[in-house]
């Protein structure tokens, strides 16, 4: 309970304002292998995340039907907006870059409008690279018919490695 309240106290203002408070640095430099890098494009500042840091952020879990799996699967991970807040970056446009150099744009407003997560677990298990892991941007597709479209499926980058913020 205390943990949750503190998290909320820390997170909510960040979500609302995308403040520049560098929470990630407050958490300390990543001790494990870097799995995600947030790069603020104008300043060139980079914030690295290891899996443990991502795991410490509030987790969200939901099942969804997707084009990539024949049956609904459950995805778990921190909200993208929390990740951005933790990195202490602000901007309007994101550029998601995958391990294979796949790149796709996403407006920051998507992270506010929808509970977009950076999924790190599939059906409760970590995802290997060969299983489109380790990180997968997932929209809550089943929460709105609007999300079941090419546009949002296209923005759902798998094997996510870097997010550029502009």
């Amino acid at each position: 309970m205390t943990q949750t309240r503190r998290t909320l106290l820390q997170t909510l203002p960040a979500v609302a304002l995308l403040t520049v408070t560098p929470l990630a640095s407050a958490l300390g430099p990543p001790s494990g292998r870097v799995v995600l890098t947030i790069e603020s494009k104008p300043s060139g500042r980079k914030v690295d995340f290891d899996m443990a840091t991502l795991e410490k952020l509030p987790q969200r879990s939901f099942a969804a039907r997707t084009p990539w799996y024949p049956v609904p699967r459950t995805f778990t991970g921190p909200l993208l907006r929390d990740v951005l807040a933790a990195a202490g970056v602000s901007g309007t446009q994101l550029r998601l870059i995958a391990l294979n150099d796949f790149k796709v744009g996403m407006p920051v407003s998507d992270t506010e409008k929808f509970d977009v997560i950076v999924a790190r677990l599939l059906d409760g298990q970590p995802m290997a690279v060969r299983e489109k892991g380790p990180l997968f941007v997932i929209y809550p597709y089943d929460s709105s018919a609007e999300l079941q479209s090419e546009l949002y499926f296209g923005r759902s980058a798998w094997q996510l490695r870097t997010i550029e913020v502009q």
Partner: protein, 760 residues
């Protein structure tokens, strides 16, 4: 007075017959059919669009990650891995194990996207796909020994070369697979596009059909609205036409009523002339045959005048112009008058006449005496007319009501021919007279009862009838009349003042010869000298030349009419320019009277000119206060103008004169003759009954002296009667003649043939 209009104004207009009022019977069915088709079309379009949505959804869900892209990604990652492996083999000293691992993992992650179970939803797998995927999986199975999650062998240069070589050997085949995937997806897209196009075409067709139906529906609605509007207009027009037709009919009816009233009025003028002339003829030298013919002519003319008066009354009633003037009236006196007047005709037919009033009937009531008498005269004369033997009775009784306003029943019963039920039903209808044979036998307009009933209803009462064929009839006038105290105010001041007018020079102007002759006869008999002119021009010349005392001027004449002539005369020097001018006209409108005053005329006499009116008019201008020495018995004692005036008021115009004429004509055959005959034979019993009849009529007609004399005869005892019979015979005969002369002098009746040949 049925209105049968020749112009067909009362016929229904043609529109009534063939207006499109009837709704076409199958329009409704058509509308329902179209509604059903429209609904079906909507459903069809909806279904097609739903299908398209589904198609789109499925496309979106399962095609989002482009499969072609996946095939090329496999090829791309394979090449990248092969290069990485080849590079590492060339530089075995420092292999970037981590980079190799990433390339390998990414390559493996791509494989699942091209497996048949992943693409099978979109297109059937081909041997090339299954074979290739199997080869790739086999490679992964081998490579996992070096680069998998749990490597079992070291990745040395030989292994690198081996792996690189195997990938290289598959490059061309993977490229073929990518091309095949591209082709398969293209074919699949073509199929889907065809389906979409087909559905689009169906949807377009349905939309067109729907649009067409909507247009048809709109057209039908417009047509319906137009029809509705047209119907409304037709109805409005019809209403206007009907309204117009009704107005026309009413106007025609009014015009005809007015025409009838006017004609009746106009007809009376020449008729008065005819009657006057007949009266003049009667006193000339005639053979007995001529006398009989003259009598018939007079009766016919009198009858005709009565009919005209009826028509005039009826049209006045119809026009709603008849007004009642109720005033305190003595019933005793009124009934007395009715009795004495009717007794002449009743006794003439040998009928018994009885008039009785019940004790509880008030003597004085408020009523229009003239109209009440008119009703009673009508009922009584009908009773006399349709009764050949027996009696006619008038009884007055109380029929309820309050003391202040008793209901009075005036019952006229006879022992005549009676009527059946059917006849009674028609009785009060206009022109109805029992049956045709009755009307042929008894004559009359058939208006009398209708007039009587209308007047009765105007008084707030009604007339009922009970009758049986052969058993007589009983007509009952039931009317509530307010009771008044017994004090009846004195009769209105007599219009007729008996006075003496000196002999005058009279200029009579009239374009109608009958009227001229009539006026000449009247004036000559009054002792005046007459000059006749036929038009205004002659009148002006005569007035300028001769010395006249007065001009009697018709108003409507050809060339110069009465108004212009009067104006011209007024411009003459005195005394001709100052003499009185009296207008004569059948047109009694106030406007006309005022017009005569404006042109300087002094008085107005309504046509037909009644002798008393003429006498009174002349007296107004020339009466001398001292009468000339009487050559005959005092006329004032012979006749009583106030009494006679009541008779005038009670009777229709001309009727008084007619009754007087009748009364005196009876000198040879009627009641007077009977009385004289009885006196001559000294038969007291018969003398009394004859005297009674004569007295009633004489007193009612205002012949006071005669009435008194006859009353004396009635009251004589046997001895006196026997002694004085001869003397009384003489006296009655003389008084009859003297009274007759007095009546003529007073202008009450037309004079006999002029005695002085010089004035003709």
């Amino acid at each position: 007075m049925a209105i049968a209009d020749d112009r067909g104004a009362v016929n229904p207009p043609d529109e009534l017959v063939d207006t499109p009022f009837a709704r076409p019977p199958n329009t409704k069915r058509w509308i329902w059919l179209i509604v059903a088709i429209l609904l079906a079309a909507f459903a069809g379009v909806g279904a097609v669009q739903w299908q398209q949505l589904q198609l789109l959804n499925s496309t979106v869900l399962y095609d989002s990650d482009n499969i072609v892209w996946s095939f090329y990604q496999v090829e791309h990652e394979l090449i990248r891995l092969q290069h990485a492996l080849a590079d590492a083999a060339r530089d075995p000293g420092n292999p970037d194990r981590q980079a190799l691992q990433l390339r390998y993992d990414v390559f493996v992650s791509r494989l699942s996207d091209v497996e048949p179970e992943r693409t099978g939803r979109h297109f059937a797998s081909a041997p090339i796909q299954t074979e290739m995927v199997a080869r790739l999986r086999a490679f992964v199975a081998d490579a996992d020994a070096y680069l998998g999650p749990a490597p079992t062998q070291a990745l040395d240069t030989a292994a690198l070369r081996w792996l690189s070589g195997r990938l290289d050997s598959m490059r061309q085949a993977v490229h073929e697979l990518a091309l095949w995937g591209n082709e398969a997806i293209g074919a699949q897209a073509a199929v889907r596009n065809t389906a979409v196009r087909q559905q689009n075409r169906i949807a377009l067709g349905l939309a067109l059909f729907q649009a067409l139906l909507t247009i048809v529906f709109a057209l039908i609605v417009v047509r319906q609205l137009r029809a509705l509007e047209a119907r409304g207009q037709a109805l409005e027009q019809l209403a206007r036409r009907l309204h117009g037709a009704r107005n026309d009919a009413e106007a025609a009816s009014r015009t005809k009523t007015a025409f009838l009233a006017n004609m009746s009025h106009e007809l009376r003028t020449p008729f008065q002339g005819v009657l006057g002339m007949l009266a003049l003829l009667r006193h000339g030298p005639l053979t007995p045959q001529q006398s009989a013919q003259l009598r018939t002519a007079t009766e016919s003319a009198n009858h005709l005048l009565g009919l005209l008066n009826d028509v005039l009354d009826a049209s006045t009633l119809e026009g709603g112009h008849l007004r009642l003037f109720p005033q305190p009236t003595s019933l005793t006196r009124l009934l007395d008058e009715v009795e004495s007047t009717m007794s002449i005709s009743a006794h003439g037919k040998g009928l018994e006449l009885k008039v009785t009033r019940a004790a509880d009937v008030p003597d004085t009531v408020e009523a229009d005496a003239k109209r009440l008498k008119q009703i009673l005269f009508n009922l009584m004369s009908n009773a006399v007319k349709f009764t050949d033997r027996g009696s006619v009775m008038l009884t007055v009784e109380r029929g309820g009501g309050t003391t202040q306003r008793p209901v009075l029943l005036f019952q006229v019963s006879d022992t005549g021919i009676g009527m059946d039920r059917e006849t009674i039903g028609r009785l009060f209808q206009r022109f109805s007279q029992g049956d045709d044979s009755t009307s042929r036998r008894f004559g009359g307009t058939g208006l009398g009862l209708e007039i009587s009933r209308s007047i009765a209803q105007l008084m707030g009462g009604d007339i009922d009838v009970e009758s049986l064929p052969g058993a007589g009839s009983r007509f009952t006038l039931r009317v509530a009349l307010p009771a008044r105290s017994a004090e009846v105010p004195p009769a209105p001041a007599p219009v007729l003042q008996l006075s003496y007018t000196p002999a005058l020079q009279v200029l009579v102007v009239d374009d109608h010869s009958v009227n001229r002759d009539y006026m000449q006869a009247l004036l000559t008999h009054f002792g005046h000298t007459v000059r006749l002119c036929t038009n205004g021009r002659e009148a002006i010349e005569a007035a300028a030349q001769g010395a006249f005392d007065i001009v009697l001027m018709d108003l409507h004449m050809p060339q110069i009419d009465g108004f212009d002539a009067a104006r011209a005369i007024r411009k003459l020097p005195a005394p001709a320019g100052r003499m009185p001018i009296v207008a004569l006209s059948a047109d009694a409108f106030r406007e006309t009277r005022e017009a005569t005053k404006r042109v300087g005329m002094n008085d107005f006499l309504a046509k037909p000119v009644q002798p008393p009116d003429l006498a009174e008019c002349l007296a107004r201008f020339f009466a001398s206060p001292t009468p000339p020495a009487p050559a005959a018995p005092d006329p004032a004692a012979l006749i009583d103008p106030s009494r006679a005036d009541a008779a005038f008021a009670a009777l229709a115009p001309g009727l008084h004169a007619k009754m007087l004429a009748c009364f005196f004509d009876d000198e040879e055959s009627g009641a007077i003759a009977l009385l004289l005959a009885c006196l001559a034979s000294a038969d007291q019993t018969h003398t009394r009954s004859a005297a009674h009849a004569v007295r009633g009529a004489a007193s009612n007609l205002g012949l006071t002296r005669l009435a008194e004399t006859v009353q004396t005869i009635e009251s004589l005892d046997t001895t006196s009667f026997a002694a004085r019979a001869a003397e009384l015979h003489e006296r009655v005969r003389d008084e009859v003649r003297a009274t007759h002369a007095a009546c003529i002098r007073a202008g009450w009746i037309a004079p006999p043939a002029p005695h002085d040949p010089a004035t003709t």
